[in-house]
């Protein structure tokens, strides 16, 4: 995340030498970390469904996310459409795209048997690389950003400066999480999706078609990327290879959450956000990429089922 650079001067790393521990600084880092964490939750929700519930090794999720950001960017640049509205506009297309993508994945991997995970991850890496290069060829390697009235402003509370775009991301992300959690627990289709994650065979015996349900779920997981992609480009400029940084963040959040729990996703994302923010403040931006991966590694090694795991 580049937001660290925005406030790097406030951290100890900027001054060099030993850091004098200060409560103000820490509080600042925690507040920003919580906001950042909600944003991470928003970009991880789709993966929480596709990987967490459906067991699809979707390493191309961050690449799809960046792709959605570029769609939002084009709508904003060409037609002056607000990024969040743009994200909503592309959502139906993403949904259809997700339906098609799952069909392809199912026909080529899951149908053939047990090796799906291993070759699936290679497949999605291939897709991610293709998306990266196509974006580079189309837009170049420069960073792109969007314009909207709420970008660039900040709230001041005492000494603390809170960028308004993070507040927007926070609000939208919280709304999105609640919406998705409600969908999965209250609606018929949502419950069917959770059922298919628990026991596909049982569902088949009940006369339901697990594949259609999973396809629908993957469609939703992809559709969510519309808003997530909009948030991604609102929070910081986007470039074609940004997805690599988000492989760690999104998988860290989803694994830490314990596959498939939406509220768990929010909590895990906030933990990651706060951890990143504190490390940024204390040690500087150059350590930032390792935080999510180190957390992920720790969680995988110590508690593979996640903090709020649904499986033993």
């Amino acid at each position: 995340m580049r937001s660290g650079a925005d406030r790097g001067s406030g951290g100890c790393a900027g001054r060099g030498g030993l850091c004098v521990f200060s409560i103000d600084l820490l509080l600042d880092a925690v507040v920003l970390g919580v906001l950042l964490g909600c944003f991470y939750a928003a970009v991880s929700l789709g993966l929480s469904v596709s990987f967490g519930l459906l067991d699809v090794p979707h390493v191309a999720h961050p690449a799809f996310l960046v792709l959605a950001s570029y769609a939002v960017f084009v709508l904003n640049e060409q037609y002056g459409i607000d990024p969040l509205l743009g994200g909503l506009l592309i959502t139906p297309f993403l949904f259809l795209f997700g339906l098609a993508a799952y069909r392809l994945y199912y026909e080529t991997f899951e149908k053939r048997g047990s090796d799906a995970g291993v070759r699936g991850i290679a497949f999605f890496f291939g897709i991610a690389f293709i998306i990266e290069v196509l974006l580079i060829l189309q837009f170049g390697v420069d960073q792109r950003s969007v314009t909207a009235s709420y970008i660039g402003k900040a709230w001041r509370i005492g000494d603390m400066r809170i960028p308004f775009r993070l507040v927007v991301a926070f609000g939208v992300a919280a709304g999105l999480t609640i919406l998705l959690a409600l969908y999965l627990s209250k609606t018929f289709m949502g419950r069917a999706i959770r059922a298919v994650a628990q026991d596909q065979e049982a569902l088949r015996l009940m006369g339901a078609n697990p594949i259609r349900i999973k396809q629908w779920a993957f469609g939703i997981a992809t559709a969510v990327l519309g808003i997530s992609g909009a948030l991604l480009i609102i929070v910081a400029p986007v470039d074609p290879v940004l997805d690599r940084a988000y492989i760690g963040r999104t998988f860290c959040v989803v694994v830490m959450a314990g596959l498939g729990s939406m509220t768990g996703t929010l909590v895990a994302a906030i933990i990651l956000g706060v951890a990143e923010s504190i490390v940024l403040t204390l040690f500087g931006a150059s350590w930032a990429p390792a935080i999510s991966f180190a957390l992920l590694l720790g969680v995988l090694a110590v508690r593979p089922q996640g903090l709020f795991g649904r499986r033993s």
Partner: protein, 315 residues
Amino acid sequence: MNRNGILFWIGAALFLLIIALMTHFVRNEYPFFAGYVILQFIVLAVAWSILGGHAGYVNFGTSAFFGMGVYTAVFLFKVAGAPLAVQIAAAAAVGALMGFALGLITLRMQGIFFSIATIAATIVIETSITNWRYVGGAAGIQLQRPPVTPPFDGYVQMLFFVQALLVVLAVAISRYIQSSWIGRGLQALRDDELAAECTGVPTLRLKVLACVISGALMCAAGAPAAMYLQYADPSSAFNLNYSVSVLAMSLIGGTAHWLGPVVGAILLGSTQQLLTVTISSEVNVLVLGVMLVLFVVGAPEGLIGLLKKIRKEGK
């Protein structure tokens, strides 16, 4: 030694002889530059297949091992001006240790979780190196090659020959593993880890052993790269492209036989060299992605698998 074994060693000796003759009689330096990269990928792909092919554990940490090989060489060269052989030997030791650690940490993980953990480990190591000022930090470090030792005319020629030696070593190890109890044990645990464990296959020890061998070879393959480029920086030494390229090479060739990764590395490696020179490195990555998807979808057993299929149908 059986007939195949004798044939293999004659082939290996011939291969090294041709390489040695090339270093003496080819004047143009470019074939060595390009050939070096292809040989390096053969070592990496063969090493990767020891764990990824036999045991079915998809390691995305190739770049971590490769990068550590590079930086072991950089460190030793900066501290003591260590000669190339020492750099490679030390890198192999570091790789073996890393493989051991990786094996221990990731023992409980299976399938995709193992893969994700290896990506995670790569980034953590890369970040640590980036923050290590002594070996250049994020900006990288320039290295001055020492004078070349006599039988060779130029340093690149020597590196080319050294990498060819590593190829022979890697392939010999991989061949041995395939036909020994290690390979059979690994295949058993790939097919069904629980069943293998129950029938007395020491799955734990075998996995760690495969990690150690594979890691040592990958690190050794990375060590000469520091002198080859005369420069090292973390973001290119630990580039994810190495991991994905090597995975693609193994899958394209097929992992059922030791020859698969060799064929895959030669094919994809030379295509990449050609594309980088003629078009651009971006298109190179695009081709990598497309080939990966095509083969995973269309020929899951790789070229070796395709050949076997054709032969079966022909009979």
